[in-house]
């Protein structure tokens, strides 16, 4: 009897706990989702209704004018999409290939120079030359100004991800496994491609996703290396609009009104650009996530 009521109490407690957790997470997801919804709905408002009533979740007057303005001449937008897709895909594949090779090599205990190469990749996390030498190397020695490679190369090797991969290889893949492969007659490449990589899908998926997101959200490289509008990434295309607005407002009084503030895009156009920028990622993300979770569980079961 006593026991039962205890159990009931426990149930009660866990139920309450469940409600509380749900409540907290519902509130949390609302906090995340509402701003995005607001951006979407502002992009669908007419600019008069924004000036008159401010931002509203349900627009006072509904209007597609921002999108029709953007799509009136969508070449710029689609080109920027194209650039981002190409850069992201190439960058992610190259990045995974190079980082896996590097991380696997320095994870092997029998590699003599592994300490040196680990340090070599670790050092730039603490110290780097800063932006000016970086810029000089890319523009004057590599001649990559206005080239898509200037958007791809900087993101290819990330010390932090590389070290995570190394640790993963060291801890989850027993050296005995590699040795036995060797005994069975597998060469180095066979060991890597048929034994190590299949076992490392979780880390590859994780790092691959981070790299993809990194490339997708990158705008700074476009800002400093690209002068021609046809080669900028979608994020920069949007970011520059915001930057332009800020800059012109800030310097308005100095320019003594020489530059008209009127040709700045309206709020709804800015928001519409934002929606156009995030839409593909929102669509793609669930697929990624499925793969990502699958990768993780494979790791868990095997581990």
């Amino acid at each position: 009897m006593n026991k039962r009521s205890d159990m009931a109490k426990q149930h009660e407690g866990s139920r309450l706990f469940g409600y509380a957790t749900h409540f907290i997470f519902i509130v949390y997801s609302l906090i995340c989702v509402i701003p995005v919804l607001l951006v979407v709905s502002v992009s669908l408002s007419s600019s008069e209704s924004i000036t008159n009533f401010g931002y509203q979740l349900i627009p006072e007057t509904f209007s597609l004018s921002a999108y029709s303005y953007l799509l009136k001449d969508p070449t710029e937008l689609f080109r920027a999409y194209g650039v981002t897709v190409v850069v992201t895909a190439t960058g992610m594949l190259l990045s995974l290939a190079i980082m896996t090779a590097y991380a696997y090599t320095i994870s092997r205990q029998d590699f003599k120079a592994k300490n040196f190469f680990s340090f070599y990749i670790f050092f730039p996390m603490l110290f780097n030359g800063g932006i000016v030498p970086f810029y000089i190397i890319y523009t004057q020695y590599l001649g990559l100004k206005n080239s898509l490679w200037a958007l791809i190369l900087p993101g290819i090797v990330n010390s932090f991800y590389l070290l995570i991969m190394r640790t993963f290889f060291q801890t989850t893949i027993p050296s005995a496994l590699i040795e036995s492969a060797k005994i069975d007659g597998a060469g180095e490449f066979r060991t890597l491609f048929q034994i190590v990589i299949p076992l490392s899908l979780p880390i590859l998926a994780t790092v691959g996703m981070f790299t993809t997101l990194g490339y997708w959200n990158e705008w700074f490289m476009s800002l400093i290396f690209i002068d021609v509008p046809s080669k900028v990434s979608i994020q920069y295309l949007m970011y520059k609009t915001i930057l332009n607005v800020q800059y012109l407002l800030q310097h308005n009084s100095s320019m003594s009104g020489s530059k008209s503030l009127f040709d700045l895009p309206t709020e709804s156009i800015r928001m519409a650009m934002c929606v156009m920028g995030m839409a593909p990622m929102v669509v793609v993300y669930p697929f990624f996530q499925k793969y990502y979770v699958k990768g993780l569980t494979i790791g868990a079961v095997k581990g």
């Binding site: 008069e48 523009t139 520059k240 332009n244 012109l248 009104g257």
Partner: protein, 510 residues
């Protein structure tokens, strides 16, 4: 028979082509050793025109802030036709987005990238770039290749841009002065028959705004936002550089002493007035935070008036954007400060491979009407059509609309828009001539030695300045707080430094 003669024609044409290519090849290689070095010694532009083939081809880059245009290449080709004929040069327009401008310029200078003509202005850290040695001193080049510039530019422009006695930038020839006033909707002024002749100061506007407030529901009588703040515009201050740096004097006065801005009672009065108006509903409630421009508000029919720096024909310019008849009410007298004379310049980068040629192009931008209008308006028949000799009408503006006419060359040579006053440039000249010259004209403060104080002050300003000047906080309470923080941050040291530099400037001037 016919066939044959055609053949002959063809082959002789080909021969002609080949030989002419070969000849130009010769002249190219011939000038490489001699031409570039002899060119600088030729004195006048007219002489150069006849000597044009002697110059080696060179591409002059022109960097300015603005949105890159779709038809840029076509426009460049049209420009190149003129430039090749005159000085055997071509142009490379390099507009850079406003938001990226400062970053890119800094990288360009620190990495020694090749550049020729570069836009610069006092509010664009021109002084700093000069101190870092990013620009060439242009005095000799100006004498050699800048005859037309010297002829057409007002002496105040030529002298006013000098730093330590040397010229590092050539001002764009445009209005040299500015005054403050109100831009307002003409329909409402007519409706209530306001007597604008009585308005002599900011305070005189109150009855007008009250009428609007009472009778026009949903219209903000006086629209205020960040950087469009009445007390600042009416202040009559010359801060000899960045407006956020403490230490100002009155530009229409004669006193040569820099003081803190709050020591001027007129300024504090106007701030109090702003606060009062914000309280009573004359000024919009969200003034400190809004990002909606007054032009958008007026277009939407939500605002009546806003404060603005003025020049002749400003109302017509705005009218073109907002599509509502506008009226400008000039309240203060036009004044000229260093900020006005150095508000827009073109400089030659020290990384230019051929500064002489860059100067020749600059000279042409100040004198060749056809060339300049190509740069600012695009190609006739594509981007605009001529209504009469000097008046144009827009055609395909999507292709080329760089909005750079106030940055490049001699604005007085620009064609006029259809809705603009045909007398605009004459009025500009009269306006320039009537301007009162600030006692600190020609002086530009160099804040290098008080950098730390200035950084602190900038932070404090961010917190207080806009809030106070948009009337969002009670000035009686907040100004003393603000001042106390500024004094702690070293305000007086900055003012003293400014005064020291200015005294030196005055001494050298005599």
């Amino acid at each position: 028979m016919k066939e044959r003669s055609k053949q002959v024609l063809k082959s002789s044409a080909a021969l002609l082509l080949v030989s002419s290519v070969a000849l130009t090849g010769c002249s190219k290689s011939g000038t490489k050793d001699g031409g570039a070095t002899t060119a600088p010694t030729t004195p006048a532009a007219t002489v150069e025109a006849s000597k044009a083939p002697a110059l080696a081809p060179y591409t002059v880059s022109l960097r300015y802030p603005g949105t890159p245009q779709k038809d840029e290449q076509a426009v460049e080709e049209a420009i190149n036709k003129i430039l090749t004929k005159k000085i055997n040069a071509t142009i490379d327009l390099q507009p850079i987005d406003w938001g990226a401008w400062e970053d890119k310029l800094n990288l360009m200078f620190s990495s020694n990238e090749k550049a020729d003509l570069v836009f610069t202005a006092s509010w664009q850290n021109h002084g700093q770039y000069v101190h870092k040695g990013a620009f060439l001193a242009l005095d000799d080049l100006l004498v050699k290749h800048g005859k037309d510039i010297q002829k057409s530019l007002d002496p105040a422009f030529l002298k006013g841009v000098q730093i330590d006695g040397k010229t590092y930038g050539i001002a764009t020839n445009k209005e040299i002065a500015s005054n403050t006033g109100i831009l307002m909707r003409k329909d409402l002024v007519d409706k209530y028959k306001f007597d604008l002749t009585k308005v002599k100061s900011m305070a005189d506007l109150e009855p007008i705004f009250n009428t609007i407030k009472e009778n026009e529901k949903g219209v903000i009588p006086f629209y205020v936002m960040e950087s469009i703040m009445p007390a600042q515009y009416f202040s009559d201050f010359d801060s000899a550089g960045d407006v956020t740096v403490p230490g100002v004097l009155l530009k229409s006065g004669t006193d040569t002493k820099f003081k803190d801005q709050f020591e001027f009672p007129g300024f504090v009065e106007n701030i109090k007035l702003t606060y009062k108006w914000a309280q009573s509903g004359i000024i919009n409630k969200d003034a400190a935070t809004t990002k909606t421009t007054p032009e958008e508000m007026i277009k939407a029919g939500k605002a009546f008036a806003y404060v603005s720096g003025l020049k002749p024909g400003k109302d017509k310019e705005v009218e073109g954007n907002v599509k509502v008849p506008m009226l400008q009410l000039d309240i203060t007298k036009p004044t000229t400060t260093t900020g006005d004379t150095t508000g827009s310049m073109l400089a030659i980068s020290k990384t230019s491979k051929d500064p002489d040629r860059a100067m020749m192009v600059l000279n042409l931008l100040h004198s060749d009407k056809e060339l300049l209008n190509l740069v600012v308006y695009g190609i006739e028949g594509t981007h605009y059509k001529k209504v009469s000799d000097n008046v144009i009408e827009d055609m395909n503006r999507d292709g080329y609309n760089p909005g750079n006419n106030w940055m490049i060359g001699n604005q007085f040579l620009n064609y006029l828009g259809k809705n603009e006053d045909p007398q605009k440039w004459e009025k500009f000249k009269a306006f320039n001539a009537s301007a009162i010259k600030s006692p600190a004209l020609g002086f530009l403060f160099n804040g290098e030695s008080v950098k730390n104080e200035m950084a602190q002050i900038t932070n404090i300003n961010k917190q207080y300045f806009n809030a106070i000047l948009t009337g969002s906080v009670n000035p009686d309470e907040i100004i003393p707080q603000y001042q106390e923080k500024l004094i702690k941050a070293g305000r007086d040291k900055v003012i003293a430094e400014k005064q020291k530099q200015f005294d030196e400037f005055l001494k050298n001037k005599k």
